[in-house]
């Protein structure tokens, strides 16, 4: 016999949610620190937790991490800006024109089939070892999700809303401005959620291929020198930054949807 699910108070729900997370985290960290090296491999391949924490601490290379992170985030940001702007503009154009969509969409799909990392060597030749090549790479990687969601948003605008506006005498331009465009906020944010993660990924991937600064570069330096504690410290930072970026987009979505102007 199974027990009927009991209604749960908000407090109890939060306790289960955070309590479960805390327990799992504690067990994982303890296992990391205390499990014998036989389980971990040969001991040198996975640094102990305290070594990683030490690498993160004030005696570690904190300053170096931050400098690298700033470069990488800068590349991700400017690349995303380009990908976002181009994605929205192209998405609207392809969404509105069937001819353009049928002509260009297969090319967009073909480009999407190309892994962005494979483009890195070419971008380095075109734009050099500095941030520019990574920005280009991030732009290419982030464009597609935004383009597709924008395009779908335009093409799938609620027919009922268009009919309603038409019945009230709305012109084509008014329908675009007052019905189609405001309706794009939600799909564009869905695309942005994917693209933000991709932007970070593409920037680091580009740096790993060839660069003179950034997270990818210090990852390679530590790898060459077998400084595994520092390598893991950087990975931890990446996890935190990646989560923060995703959270930021969600907050921005919430903020924009709540505060959309009444027009």
């Amino acid at each position: 016999m199974t027990a009927a699910p009991r209604p749960m108070s908000a407090g109890a729900g939060a306790a289960v949610r955070w309590g479960g997370l805390a327990v799992v985290t504690a067990v994982l960290l303890a296992a990391w620190q205390f499990l014998p090296s036989g389980v971990q491999g040969d001991g040198s391949s996975v640094p102990k937790l305290d070594a990683v924490v030490k690498a993160l601490g004030p005696s570690g290379e904190w300053g170096e991490y931050l400098t690298a992170l700033r470069t990488t985030l800068g590349e991700a940001f400017f690349g995303l800006l380009i990908g976002f702007a181009a994605g929205v503009v192209l998405g609207v154009l392809l969404g509105e024109s069937r001819i353009l969509r049928q002509g260009f969409y297969p090319y967009a799909l073909a480009l999407q089939a190309l892994p962005p990392i494979a483009l890195a060597p070419i971008f380095v030749i075109w734009f050099g070892l500095g941030m520019e090549s990574k920005i280009g790479l991030v732009g290419a990687a982030t464009l597609f999700p935004i383009l597709v969601s924008t395009m779908a948003g335009v093409a799938e605008t609620d027919r009922g809303r268009i009919e309603m506006a038409t019945a009230f005498g709305a012109s084509k331009a008014q329908i675009r401005r007052k019905i189609v465009f405001p309706g794009l906020v939600v799909p564009i944010f869905s695309g942005l959620e994917i693209s933000v993660v991709l932007s970070f990924l593409a920037a680091i991937a580009g740096e790993l291929i060839s660069a003179n600064a950034g997270i990818g570069v210090i990852l390679q330096v530590y790898q060459r020198d077998f400084r595994l504690a520092e390598e893991f410290a950087v990975l931890l930072i990446l996890v935190v930054v990646g989560l923060a970026l995703a959270l930021l987009v969600r907050l921005a979505r919430h903020f924009v949807l709540e505060r959309m102007p009444n027009e």
């Binding site: 609620d158 009922g160 809303r161 009919e163 309603m164 506006a165 038409t166 019945a167 009230f168 005498g169 709305a170 008014q174 007052k178 019905i179 405001p182 309706g183 906020v185 949807l257 959309m260 009444n262 027009e263």
Partner: protein, 267 residues
Amino acid sequence: MSTEEHAVELAGLRHVFAGRGRGRRAVRDVEAVKDVDLTVEPGEFVSIVGPSGCGKSTILKMIAGLLRPTEGSVRVWGEPVTGPRRDIGIALQDATLLPWRDVMSNCLFPVELHGKVTGAARERVSGLLERAGLAGFESRRPKELSGGMRQRVAICRALADDPRLLLLDEPFGSLDALTREQMNIDLNRIWRETEKTALLITHGIDEAVLLSTRVVVLSERPGTVVEVVTPPFPKERTKELMSTPEFAEVSGQVRDRLFASDVKVGG
């Protein structure tokens, strides 16, 4: 001019939805309505009832200027309809409110399309919302409202730019019976207080009889007018009216006519 006296004038109206394709996958032409003659006088509340798919909505869309008749003519206030008119307010089965706008701004949408939103327009909408029992909800978003409230907002929106003619296409079709009855009483009051001319499309017989000064019964597709019933009640309609023998008699008259051609009603 004599035609100026009619709010709506339909003459020999016919609409055919063109088919497409060939061979086995072809979609045939569908004649939705034919030979529809109907006039609506200023200040009237006319309902069009008919079986599912009889072209009720098609007629409304032609009056709204969303569809062109295949044959015949549509005149509103004496003028041939060539497209959507600014002096028509419309509310459809789905409220189709814009989710990113609050209640006030949804209602002002037609005003905004037709020109500048003035203080006077805001005041008029406030008055409409109050009459519709929505005072205090001006800055709520549609998702915060119940289905019935959304429909009332849609009707306020239809009236916002002070149209002379109100077109309603089953605006309460998706509501439960109780809410619907309340909506009908509210709508009757709004119609009396605003003194508009109204045309309602519905498949609810009681709803049509309760609200209308005239009920037009359409046949099965292709829809054409088979009967016009005039409920002999004063303008003010109440819930109590619905349980009187007179109401039952008029409803029965409409129902008999609808079933005369052995068709199913509903939909």
